[in-house]
């Protein structure tokens, strides 16, 4: 075939796309802004729903991208991106010019910057952390407070930066609920003496084996689920966090003192993705993610022929969905390049 495809983004979607395309004989360049590939997988310790180590998925992705002659460019971003007749001219931050027959955008997501929910005090109150910070603690093998003591009462707030007009995100990030359930279980595993409370609006357990995990969290691990959005957190003199929430099922406002508060940060269009959208003239939706041409049968297609999307740059997705979406993008590329021969 000999056709050249440039893949932008070396996370789960980008690696899967690059691996599959190179396997079937395309020439592939993979551009990653960080010094290593793997994206958010590098930060996560274990994955829902089965709590396997994230490193196992990384091993798989490394496996399919190794030894297929992929031209990997790390620490590289895109400066210019133009269509010229039936091919694309891409200028990298290193000044390299790449000529591509097709482009796959796999720029992924950024975690919502939790400091923007000012009332939760992330970055202000000592023991308010995000789901990503908690994974970091899991990887280090210790969950501790800033004064190095062990937390006993831990609260998990769902929907931080999701379903929230106040931060401009109307959509559901869809994976924070199951992340909360997974992390609640893991906290209980790490700290058998602890009490964990999840504050949710709706438990969106739509993925395979999610509901089972939720049930396990209740039955086996004694995690408490309280239906209500936390209104605010504040810091007490003994460095605990006082939260205000309504237990909406009981119809009663309640205040609770916690040692540690974990914010389930939602998913947003990545900064890298926004930049590509700007320089490449790619259409984005009201939720700021890339807008595919059709929600049902064109979710990989962009408004520019020859440019395709893979993964969470179009919407929140779990890893299973991301990999499926990436493979679907491969099919679109094959189809496109066949027609353009």
């Amino acid at each position: 075939m000999g056709k050249h495809v440039v893949v932008i983004g070396g996370g789960v979607a980008g690696l899967e796309v690059a691996g599959q395309l190179s396997k079937i004989g395309f020439e592939v360049s993979l551009i990653e802004k960080d010094s290593r590939t793997g994206g958010h997988l590098n930060k996560w310790y274990r994955l829902f729903p089965d709590r396997r180590r994230s490193s196992e998925v990384k091993e798989y992705l490394n496996g399919i991208t190794a030894n297929n002659g992929i031209n990997l460019m790390t620490d590289t971003s895109i400066e210019k991106f133009n269509r010229h007749k039936d091919h694309f001219i891409i200028i990298t931050s290193g000044g390299r010019e790449l000529i591509a027959d097709a482009v796959i955008v796999a720029t992924g997501f950024d975690l919502f910057k939790s400091a923007r929910k000012e009332e939760y005090g992330y970055g202000i109150y000592d023991n308010v952390i995000t789901s990503a910070d908690l994974e970091e603690m899991f990887r280090r093998g210790e969950i501790s407070l800033t004064n190095n003591t062990i937390p006993e009462k831990i609260g998990i707030i769902h929907c931080v930066g999701s379903r929230d007009e106040k931060v401009g995100n109307f959509y559901c990030s869809k994976l924070c609920c199951v992340t909360a359930v997974k992390q609640a279980i893991e906290i209980r595993e790490f700290l058998p003496e602890s009490k964990v409370f999840c504050f949710y609006m709706d438990m969106r357990m739509g993925g395979a084996l999610y509901e089972e995990l939720y049930r396990e969290a209740q039955e086996k691990w004694g995690v408490s689920f309280i239906r209500g959005k936390v209104s605010e957190a504040s810091e007490t003199i003994d460095n605990k966090l006082l939260i205000k929430v309504e237990d909406t099922l009981a119809g009663r406002p309640l205040k609770m003192k916690l040692d540690l508060l974990v914010l389930m940060a939602g998913m947003e269009m990545s900064e890298g993705g926004k930049k590509i959208a700007g320089i490449g003239g790619l259409r984005t939706g009201e939720n700021r993610f890339f807008a595919a041409t059709d929600n049902h049968y064109g979710s990989n297609k962009s408004n520019i022929a020859g440019v395709f999307y893979a993964g969470t740059c179009t919407a929140p997705m779990n890893i299973t969905e991301t990999i499926s979406h990436a493979r679907a993008a491969v099919v679109e590329v094959i189809d496109y390049l066949k027609d353009n021969n």
Binding site: E118, Y125, E235
Partner: protein, 353 residues
């Protein structure tokens, strides 16, 4: 507590505050309970900062308390507010500076409603014309009087005779800031520092030598709640709110409270008295109460104004503990002396400059 985090939030909420030629509208509550504060404010503005502040003799209440007691339709309040704008327009001013937080909130809300519903603004213009024959321009700048003091906090600090420092220990006074609910809760971007970590009073306190303390119920309402205080049968709500705040701030041992809303200092002051009468419970060090101040009073204190000219004797909770800690030169025996020195009456010339 990580101060850098708060500073980042403060940076996100920069507010435009006019630097001269203000049209001042008074506060019903402040005039009745803290008249010395409005007098001190005008003195600071005109004499210390040399600013042009105009007050129209024919302006009235914005109806705020009546409006929030649900006694009038929103159109009535909007039209009274439109009349205030008309008087300002006729006087040739564009920078509206209310003394009251309820007014400030109302003006902000009304301008926002008109922005989203231009047909409402049109209707109000017609109604004002019909009722009074007046026409108006909307203010170019709307800043609460505490925003303006915030803007000039450094200039005031430079002229200060005292600092908010405990003379004995050399430590900064620990100050609780209480922001009126209607300052920024409705429109966070209209408040200095936003709604969650307002900076308007914190900035003054830091500049004048004190230390702000954060405490869990910092954002809680003082308990005015309009009808919840104005009707005797409801006052349990009001005192319960203030008590919740006192209990929450107690472990932090505050030396004083500073407020920017005219009502809050009255409630935080009087309910301490009531809680003591009802339960024998006294707050503050040695049970002497936690003095509560308006920001004008605090500015006046650091500038060295006489406490009894500022009206601190109109507080039910004694202010002397703070005066003594700072080492302010005052005469305790003159607290209830109502004689006015000749220099004093001259100072408080009521004519617009």
């Amino acid at each position: 507590m990580i101060l850098e985090g708060k500073k980042a939030v403060w940076n996100d909420y920069q507010k435009e505050i006019a630097d001269d030629k203000y049209y001042y509208v008074r506060s019903c509550v402040r005039q009745n309970f803290f008249p010395g504060s409005e007098t001190a404010f005008l003195k600071i503005m005109r004499e210390e900062l040399n600013k042009d502040v105009y007050e129209h003799p024919c302006h009235t209440s914005c109806t705020g308390i009546v409006y929030h007691s649900d006694l009038v339709p929103v159109e009535t309040t909007m039209t009274v507010v439109a009349r205030q704008f008309a008087l300002m327009t006729e006087a040739g001013y564009e920078n509206l500076m209310p003394s009251c937080i309820t007014s400030f909130g109302l003006y902000t809300e009304i301008l926002d409603t008109w922005h989203h519903f231009p047909e409402v603004e049109e209707k109000v213009r017609l109604q004002l014309k019909k009722a009074t024959g007046r026409e108006f321009k909307k203010p170019k700048n709307l800043a609460h009087a505490s925003d303006v003091i915030f803007k000039f906090r450094k200039e005031i600090g430079a002229k200060a005779k005292y600092k908010l420092i405990n003379k004995e220990t050399g430590e900064p006074l620990k100050v609780v800031d209480h922001i009126g609910c209607h300052y920024a809760k409705m429109f966070p971007s209209k408040g200095v520092g936003g709604a969650e970590y307002p900076y308007v009073l914190t900035g003054m306190i830091e500049e004048w030598g004190g230390q702000i303390i954060d405490y869990p119920e910092r954002r809680h309402c003082c308990g005015f709640g309009f009808r919840q205080y104005l009707v005797q049968a409801n006052r349990g709500f009001s005192v319960a709110c203030s008590k919740e705040k006192f209990e929450s701030m107690k472990p932090f041992k505050p030396d004083m409270i500073i407020t920017n809303c005219p009502g809050c200092p009255m409630f935080l002051d009087r309910w301490q008295y009531v809680i003591n009468e009802m339960e024998g419970k006294r707050y503050g060090q040695n049970g002497e109460g936690i003095p509560v101040f308006t920001y004008e009073e605090v500015a006046g204190m650091v500038l060295g104004y006489d406490p009894w000219e500022l009206g601190l004797q109109m507080h039910q909770t004694d202010c002397e503990p703070v005066l003594n800690k700072i080492g302010i030169d005052y005469s305790p025996e003159d607290k209830y002396n109502l004689d006015i020195s000749p220099s004093y009456s001259k100072k408080h010339n009521l004519i617009n400059v």
